[in-house]
Amino acid sequence: MKALRRFARRLVASALGHRDDDRVREELTEHLALLTDEYVRAGVPLEEARRRARLKVGAIDATTEAHRDEQRLRWLEDLGSDLRYGLRTLRRTPGFTVIAIVTLALGIGANTAVFSLLNSLVLRPLPVRDPDRLALIANGAWSYPLWEQIKARENELFDGALAWSAQRFDLSEGGLAAPVDGAYVSGRFFDVLGVSAERGRTLTPADDSASAPDGPVAVISHRYWRAHFGGAEDVIGRRITVQRVPFTVIGVMPAAFFGVDVGQTTDVMMPIAAAPIIQGSDGVLRDADSWWLEILVRLKPRQDLAQATNALRGVEPQIQAALVTRRVMDPLTLVPAAAGKSDLRTTFETPLVAMVVAVGLVLLVACANVAGLAFERAVARRHELGVRLALGGSRARLARLVFSESLIVAVTGAMLGLAFAVWSSALLVQRLNTWRNTISLDLGIDWRVLTFTTMLACVSAVVAGLAPVLGVKRVAPSEALRNAGRTITGDRRFIVRGTLVVAQIAVSLVLVTAAGLFLRTFASLNQLPLGFAPAPLLLAELDLRRTPSEARGPLVERLRDAVTTIPGVNAVAVSTVQPLTGGGWGDRQVVIGDGPMGRYDRSRPILWMNATTPGWFRTMGMAMKKGRDFETGDRVGGVPVAIVNEAFVRQYLSGHDAIGQTVRLGFDAQTRREIIGVVSDAVYTSPRDGMTATMYVPMAQQVPDGLSVAVLTLDVARSQHATAERDIAAALLRVDPAVEFTFRTFDQLVDATVTQERLVAMLSGFFGAFALLLASIGLYGIVAQAVRARRAEIGLRMALGAQPAGIMRLVFHRIGVLIAVGLAIGLGISLWAARFVAPLLFHVEARDPATFITAAATLVAVGALAVWVPARRAARLDPATVLREG
């Protein structure tokens, strides 16, 4: 405590520049006078008395200074003058300063950008009250009846619970859809989270009931309010159309609140009770097998996760008993949810951590570059530093002087880097957008990001500043004071810079290898067979939820007929599921022939399903292997039929003949479908999952209630997509002015399945290239320096008959050793680190020899180029000129 108080007092004294030197001086003068008096009294003559007193008291100035040191923070004031001096010397060499600062700014900026992504996606807690007390019921979604059971016990088990379901809603008035991220939320959603509206009010339990007093109401996000209502003052009470249903806006959330799904902004929130209004049936609220809600609970104060989980499991038997479901629940488990819930996080957490490491390595390479440059400067300043040493400067003080330069460079670099990070992280987030997800992350600079960047600046300053400081340590006053004319370059100098270059090459090789692996992963994902011909296909997804269920089938037929006649449209077919969306329609309970149905088992693979119209396979470019396609005669009332793919035959029939076999599925156990055809395999969920077992049923036999979406698959030449889209839209609207549709191409769908890999490949490619560039600059620097230092020697050699080729060989030989050592180390690290990137790879071995060799070859080629330029300059030296100089 005392030490702290003294420190504070000294700090204040330093900061205020407050000096009481006068006081000490006065006291010492006083002391001197008293002493003189005493000597005089003892009989010493006045002059002699003065002399003796002065001798005894000592130099007043020295004492005053000692006193000043005692009173103030000497190092702080010295630091100030060091920094001022550093600034002056940096200003004298703008070239070095700019290169060093830009290098570090890019390095630190890239680090900060990746970190701020990681921060906002993984680390930052939700902007709600006590986010640490939030917990999520783990692994999956839950049904509304189950939520009702939890809700009934929310205060007994926890400090409240909330449920929500993230959805995309069409907020357009008609025609082309205007999808917006939204959610159905429980009545106490905002209350349990502890957030209140910025304008108007939030939802209440009354709103989330069948008899809502204010009718259908919605709360909108700050962003939507600004974008859609232009921030209008009178927004409360205005109307919005959600899936063509009018809702009244009752509240606007604060700007910081984006919902509980990290990675998107929930723009419109409606009570769960509004789901039946939008979907046209309350089936979703009654069905215990419809899992669509996520549940968060708020722990009681001092209740920990294990206690809460136990409490929940305690009532699980009662909950299970109250539900009419074919699904046996696993034991319910709570997981921490302070940072909300995020599908994006699940996908990107591992790659982001990998990128944090990669970009950290880039910064190391950047620091090594700056260190090399700074070292060269320190060596060039040997003379000046020697003079300082000779005049009594301590080595530590001198080291600090040199170090202050790298500190200035690092801090400036960090500040520029922060600006670069803000820009580039926003760019990165944009690259994550797909047709399906509009990613929105709060990338604001918070204390975590600031701490991280500050740390980086300090680390950079130390790493980049260490080499020149070591250089200073070796300076001897005598050496420096000697006339620094033509000196023989010591090997030591080469060793310091050589070590830096070896490190750079090693790290660059690691990064380039990683980039190669990720690029190959991305490439192999893109080359995966889809099983159909995507190029000429145009998709129009029709949203049928606003049409009464019995009218949906006929409407789809009329819409299809309306577009068949459009010029340019070669073929049209309809399906209920759009492939490549990652999910779809399927069942795990599959019985061939007369076997027993068995229990629902989550560990069984899913049999994916699709309902199609005749001609769909042909339009998609899939081949009928056996049997026949659906015909117009396959309608309700006829024999239920199905077509399966070859993967189905392999998986469920062990390759036996499929035609004539019957299939029953758990969700519709009474229907026995007869297999009438086998079709070639096609990707259903994502190219990564490969060819999964799939069963197709005729759309005409499909239960109309399940038909909420229909996809028109159109065969249109790619060049005519734009005009066809316009004509199709017009045709659809002529049939039904209220129809809702969205156009898509398979390119968009395929793209969305590889977002993560594309981002990783792009980032690692960028980092690899950046490291390569830095390493080549580093190499160039050391070679240019070596050539400059050995000009005289080279000139002499040439005068004695050395050929330019020989000189080149001389230079290359020396640098070649560095490159070889760097590559060997880099290779070792890459082989070791390979196991960490393995989970991110696809169809590429983590130790893929081709990638490793290519990476090494790239490095050698770039390195050779960086060496070649200065080496060539050396070989072209005119010996006569060089020798005359010396």
């Binding site: 006291e27 010492l28 006083e30 005894k56 000592g58 005692e70």
Partner: protein, 116 residues
């Protein structure tokens, strides 16, 4: 040649200053230096260059306080006096010092037969 005067051990000067102020009451810097020299029988030479930093340090540590006053021969001088904290500190440091010297005494006077 007179016996060489000894310099004050680092750290002991503070204790001497405190004790001097405790015994003699408020004193100015010169007075403190003189008293210490006198008490030591002029065996110690108090270096002014070390005395003033020690006075300042003690003042910063709130062991002593200072005011301007008038010295015997009507000069303006800064008078130092002991504070309550300083008195406590004097007590503990005196004890510690006594223990240390007692311990050192036993070591120095030890004879082979004592350890037998």
């Amino acid at each position: 040649m007179p016996m060489a005067k000894r310099d004050v051990h680092q750290g002991t000067l503070a204790l001497m200053v405190l004790k001097t102020l405790d015994v003699l009451g408020p004193l100015h810097g010169y007075g403190i230096a003189r008293r210490i020299e006198q008490i030591s029988g002029d065996l110690l030479a108090v270096n002014q260059g070390t005395l003033y930093p020690v006075l300042l340090k003690l003042e910063h540590e709130d062991a002593i306080a200072s005011d301007w006053g008038t010295s015997d021969n009507n000069r303006r001088a800064r008078f130092y006096r002991l504070t309550a904290a300083g008195r406590r500190r004097l007590r503990t440091e005196t004890q510690e010092w006594a223990q240390t010297t007692a311990l050192m005494d036993r070591f120095i006077t030890v004879k082979a037969e004592d350890l037998a």
